[in-house]
């Protein structure tokens, strides 16, 4: 029993740290030389916002499907593994949409023409055609939006995204804190991993759960104390290099012809889809 509990903690800890490292720090796809990776990050973020807004406004499932297909095409020409991409995006669907979409299938919420009728615990459930098409439209809209958002984040280096935020006039202090969080989360992941290994090397695998709780609690306190100390030192290091409260940054993005072409292309797509949906 104890072994199981230890394995559970070990798997959870290692799994969480690995997930954080892989999802936040790997930048495997952002470093590839695909279509989206080579775009100016400002234009990329702007065009993706336009496409997401378009997906939110469209009420025709077929047009949404074309937009989703465009997203998959962009992923493919950006050298993203489609299997990975689909897994990464569809994993959000139960989270964001099924809870809302499933009740919408039934006649209670979406009255209309009955499509399927069944009984459960002597209660009659009716799935309506209107309910089904509404739920399908909703799921399609969510997957399209999520796909564009994920595609943008995995094809852009995190520091470029932060720089884009600055350019879009998000307060510098906020962007700087976000960047520092990113930087120091990695440092603390390293500390947690090493602390865990140090504990393991001295305690072996069998340990009473109460002692385990004490060790974990002590380590949380220790980590907090380390982060507090680091916070003071980092601030001193900032002061030492002239920081006075409002960070200055260098804007070194350069948009090229290809970036402007892509912007006009997306504007054209949006206008065309808008026209189609209004027809």
């Amino acid at each position: 029993m104890k072994r199981h509990s230890n394995n559970f903690i070990e798997h959870s800890l290692i799994g969480t740290l690995d997930f954080l490292k892989e999802s936040l720090f790997a930048e495997e796809f952002a470093l590839k030389k695909g279509f989206l990776q080579l775009l100016d990050p400002r234009i990329k973020v702007l065009t993706f916002l336009l496409l997401i807004i378009q997906a939110v406004l469209i009420k025709n499932i077929l047009i949404l499907f074309y937009l989703y297909a465009l997203c998959l095409l962009l992923a493919a020409i950006s050298r993203i593994n489609l299997g990975f991409f689909l897994k990464r995006t569809w994993v959000f669907i139960p989270l964001f949409s099924l809870v809302i979409a499933i009740p919408a299938l039934f006649s209670i919420f979406s009255p209309g023409e009955a499509l399927v009728t069944f009984k459960l615990l002597s209660i009659k459930f009716v799935i309506t055609q209107q309910g089904l098409s509404g739920a399908a439209l909703f799921v399609m809209r969510v997957i399209t939006c999520v796909s564009f958002a994920v595609l943008m984040s995995i094809t852009t280096k995190h520091f470029e995204l932060l720089k884009v935020l600055r350019i879009f006039k998000v307060p510098q202090v906020f962007v700087m804190i976000a960047g520092m969080c990113y930087r120091y989360v990695y440092l603390f992941i390293g500390i947690i991993e090493n602390t865990y290994l140090a504990i393991k090397s001295r305690t072996g695998t069998r340990i009473h759960y109460k002692r385990g709780q004490q060790i974990v609690a002590w380590n949380i306190a220790y980590l907090w104390s380390r982060s507090y100390c680091l916070n003071e030192q980092v601030y001193q290091a900032m002061l030492s290099r002239g920081y006075t409260g409002e960070p200055e940054v260098l804007n070194d993005f350069r948009a090229r012809i290809k970036d402007w072409l892509w912007l006009f292309c997306v504007l054209g797509i949006c206008a065309f889809l808008f026209y189609l949906s209004r027809r």
Partner: protein
């Protein structure tokens, strides 16, 4: 006196008002000098360096910088603060503290941008510093992807780019391989030859002669117990032993067991 940069008189400092870190420090440092501060862990070296960089201030005693008494309130004057930070640069002991930006390039540019340097000047300095330290391939990487030696180089670059008159370094060679250590020593010698005042704290006794004209030895009582030229200090085995800078140990090589004070200078005498 024009050539004097720092003058500390009977300086005391304690953390949280109850943990003494400096007890009665008297120091004078002149323009263009190479100074080494040596002492065991926790003897007050880093605290002194932070005080010289205007990050902490004496609880008692007086510190003068460029002939003027330095007070915490002076830094409320933006011009004074900018001028001071341009003239004095500190490389922290832990490079993770100093490298807080998402990329190496942003970390190096942080100082010049805060200090209002012009874009062209920043670009020229960046190119120069990158060339001196050989870090061209690292600019677009995140600091967390670097080795400790690379991080130290970037931390030095992020201070050196400001082109300060006084370069203060807190244990710049700690934990580095011999080649990187040599690279950093040569850099410090070159910067001093170019007119900078170099103040370095270290445990590495074998680099002291190269990086210092004068050495301050800290005792466990958080005081400067001796100062003098490197030869004088390094030849005083008793002084070094008493202050935990060398220790007597036994080891075995070429089939014989030796017992002697552990100090690297011996190897040079043998050679």
């Amino acid at each position: 006196m024009d050539s004097q940069i720092f003058e500390l008189r009977n300086v005391h400092f304690s953390y949280l008002g109850k943990f003494p870190a400096l007890c009665g420090i008297d120091v004078e440092i002149n323009r263009g000098e190479k100074i080494a501060v040596i002492g065991a862990n926790g003897s007050g070296k880093s605290t002194l360096l932070q005080m010289l960089d205007g990050l902490i201030f004496p609880g008692q005693g007086q510190i003068k910088v460029f002939g003027k008494e330095l007070k915490e309130s002076d830094f409320q004057d933006a011009d004074f603060s900018e001028n001071f930070r341009k003239k004095i640069g500190l490389v922290f002991q832990n490079p993770d503290v100093q490298l807080f930006c998402p990329t190496v390039r942003e970390d190096i540019l942080f100082g010049p941008l805060q200090l209002g340097m012009k874009k062209k000047e920043i670009e020229a300095r960046l190119e120069e510093v990158v060339g001196i330290l050989g870090i061209n391939g690292l600019l677009e990487r995140s600091p967390h992807q670097l080795s400790i030696g690379e991080k130290r180089k970037i931390a030095i670059a992020s201070t050196l780019i400001i082109n300060p008159d006084v370069l203060i370094l807190d244990e710049p060679t700690a934990g580095l391989d011999p080649l990187t250590t040599r690279h950093i020593i040569e850099l410090l010698i070159d910067e001093n030859a170019a007119g900078k005042t170099i103040i370095t704290s270290t445990h590495d006794l074998h680099i002291v002669e190269e990086i210092a004209d004068r050495v301050f030895v800290f005792s466990q009582e958080k005081k400067i117990i001796r100062s003098g030229n490197p030869c004088e200090i390094l030849d005083d085995i008793q002084l070094l032993e008493d202050n935990n800078l060398i220790h007597v140990h036994s080891h075995r090589h070429t089939g014989k067991t030796h017992t002697h004070p552990h100090q690297h200078l011996e190897h040079h005498h043998e050679g």
